[in-house]
Homo-oligomer: 376 residues x 2
């Protein structure tokens, strides 16, 4: 499949996107806000030190130097990888429909696989033989039906899902850098995925060794890329259930494979079914439910987001900042409430929240809610 | 629990009810129609030979003699059993809400158990150990919560369900006569059920050895007595699925225990779940769904049905019969359609259909539809 034409970042833009997204306290949400407000990552980088100090940080944000970003670009090239920006042709289509999609994605392998409709298959690491067989069968069936299968490269169900869809196109989302596959024994599987025409993707920097707290972010990526997520085996309170919850919140279809109530590895999937997940015993169950979605026109891959025009609004003053901080607390509130409560212009509230975010003092929640973080 | 007061048949009425229901081609529907039309079983027996000939039977119906019915009453007494008529206090409450409930039920054991709210547990004869354990656990839990558990006395899941609810009250519905338990190895379980305060019920005559074609009728009885029916393990195209279909048609809640898609004994239950059955992994799942129903006031156990007054309507003539038979065919139609199509009085259509039924020429379907039976 030839990559479709579309806007691409210049080398200079890509370098600055990478510098900005690698800056501490800059996440997908604040990245978007910064580019929207200041027109480019380069302009945002200029103003960032000032903003973080305004937001109450003790010292200005530590923005990676151009040389440091170049070093990561070089590490990617050496690993046969590249960085794909949101809006570029290789960026996974469905991922764009998630709240706060990652602006830049490290990718190794074929971008073409990301333009197929994608379905996620996830589940327990300590899977049963039956679970592994089920995952492999579903992955093969979905692949033959024209879907790319995304999973998290973990042991058990994830590995089986990748193996079952090797021939048709599989995508592994990594919790660490693309050069730090986890578990390490799956390094060979990574090479197989790429050789077979699949892809590896990650939000994290090259060289990043994944920690426990990085996996929810990987799960978010898996759910975000897919039209639907199938959970094959999952114990109570397991990571796969977090993936399912995230998928549900994103409006993805959630599927679960049932199991005996006496099998603890089915407690999670049976629970999902009680909560309304679609029951899966064979590939056709997934295909039937996904069919209407797979034909949904994807958002136009062309345009990057147009920044709103705030040029006529005066910047917030010290008093405005104090009022907004006072209005915030540990309980998440909607931005609209803050605007109503303070009577400030939306652009001013927007700026102060961005400053607080960059200073590491703001937490963003689902549905656009925010709360104040307090030092421990 | 003391039996509540309520209307009871006289000995003479009970004898005639038994004679009428044991007459060939008289089923629950035509029994009700006959009693409604002629005021009593005794009056219906008088007129029956004439009706069957009008309906086109080669010879008048063979109505059991009073001596034959006395002999069955005596067999019941010897077996410690009795016949309970619809409307009498021991008649299972929920069974009355079924279409065409059996007018007379042979019962051995305590009528009190039939006045508890009832839940059915059914499933595979060749159950797995896990299935047996699940059935027993559910039966015990539901019994402790105040439900009587009804099942079909079969091997596997049925047996486990009875065993699990022995202490709290269990009801076995038999496919043959109460003195012919099937499988024979469960004769001991029958005695245990009765000793423990449970009950055995059957629609079939004493001495009747159950044949394969008698089991669907037993399944209908199981579903009819219960507010909800739980299927624990069931293969594709198994009898338990017929019970579930019947229960659904009767408006009972249908529950199913999930299992691995690779286990053929879960294919039926997983299929039920896909069709909307309520997923059960623990007793609470059943209790939660049944709670609103268990409080539903049962239909008044007092009044027998009042016969409609057809005295002003002339009886149907030969021409009327011919027109109705002509309007009927092998495809089920509604009685209202026949009335509209023929322009005859509803009472006349009702009588002709009853005659055809008694002559063995009519088949009754769900939703009050009827079709003509043709000789093979």
């Amino acid at each position: 499949m030839k990559a479709p034409a579309g806007p691409r970042l210049s080398d200079r833009q890509r370098l600055n996107w990478l510098r900005l997204i690698r800056t501490p306290n800059v996440g997908p949400a604040s990245f978007r806000d910064l580019v929207n407000r200041f027109g480019s990552a380069e302009a945002a980088i200029e103003i960032l030190p000032e903003l973080t100090v305004s937001g109450g940080a003790r010292r200005p944000a530590r923005i990676p130097s151009p040389a440091e970003a170049e070093a990561e670009l070089e590490a990617a090239r050496k690993a046969g990888a590249r960085f794909v920006a949101i809006g570029e042709p290789d960026y996974p289509l469905t991922l764009r429909t998630m709240a706060h999609p990652p602006p830049l994605l490290a990718m190794r392998g074929e971008g073409a696989v990301c333009r197929l409709p994608v379905v996620a298959i996830v589940g327990a690491r300590n899977a049963s033989l039956a679970g592994v067989k089920m995952a492999r069968t579903l992955a093969t069936g979905l692949g033959e039906a024209g879907y790319a299968v995304v999973s998290g490269l973990a042991r058990g169900i994830d590995t089986a899902s990748h193996q079952g869809s090797l021939a048709t196109g599989t995508i592994a989302a990594l919790a660490g850098g693309l050069d730090r596959p986890y578990p390490p024994e799956n390094a060979g599987l990574c090479d197989e995925i790429v050789s077979a025409g699949g892809a590896l993707v990650s939000e994290m920097p090259f060289g990043w060794q994944p920690r426990a707290q990085d996996f929810p972010r990987r799960n978010r990526l898996v759910a975000g890329m897919a039209l639907g997520l199938v959970v094959v085996e999952a114990a109570k309170r397991s990571g796969s259930l977090i993936s399912a919850r995230l998928a549900g919140e994103m409006g993805r279809l959630v599927f679960a494979v049932p199991g005996s109530p006496l099998d603890p590895r089915a407690a999670g999937t049976n629970g999902l079914l009680k909560d309304g997940a679609i029951l899966v015993t064979e590939t056709a169950d997934v295909l039937t439910a996904l069919a209407p979605l797979a034909g949904t026109p994807a958002p136009p891959a062309g345009a990057l987001e147009e920044p709103p025009d705030f040029s006529a609004t005066p910047p917030p003053g010290e008093d405005d900042r104090a009022r907004i901080v006072e209005a915030l607390g540990p309980t998440p509130v909607e931005t609209d409430e803050i605007i109503r409560h303070t009577g400030l212009h939306p652009a001013q509230v927007f700026m102060v929240l961005l400053e607080l975010d960059l200073a590491g003092r703001l937490e963003r929640h689902a549905g656009g809610q925010v709360s104040l973080l307090f030092p421990d």
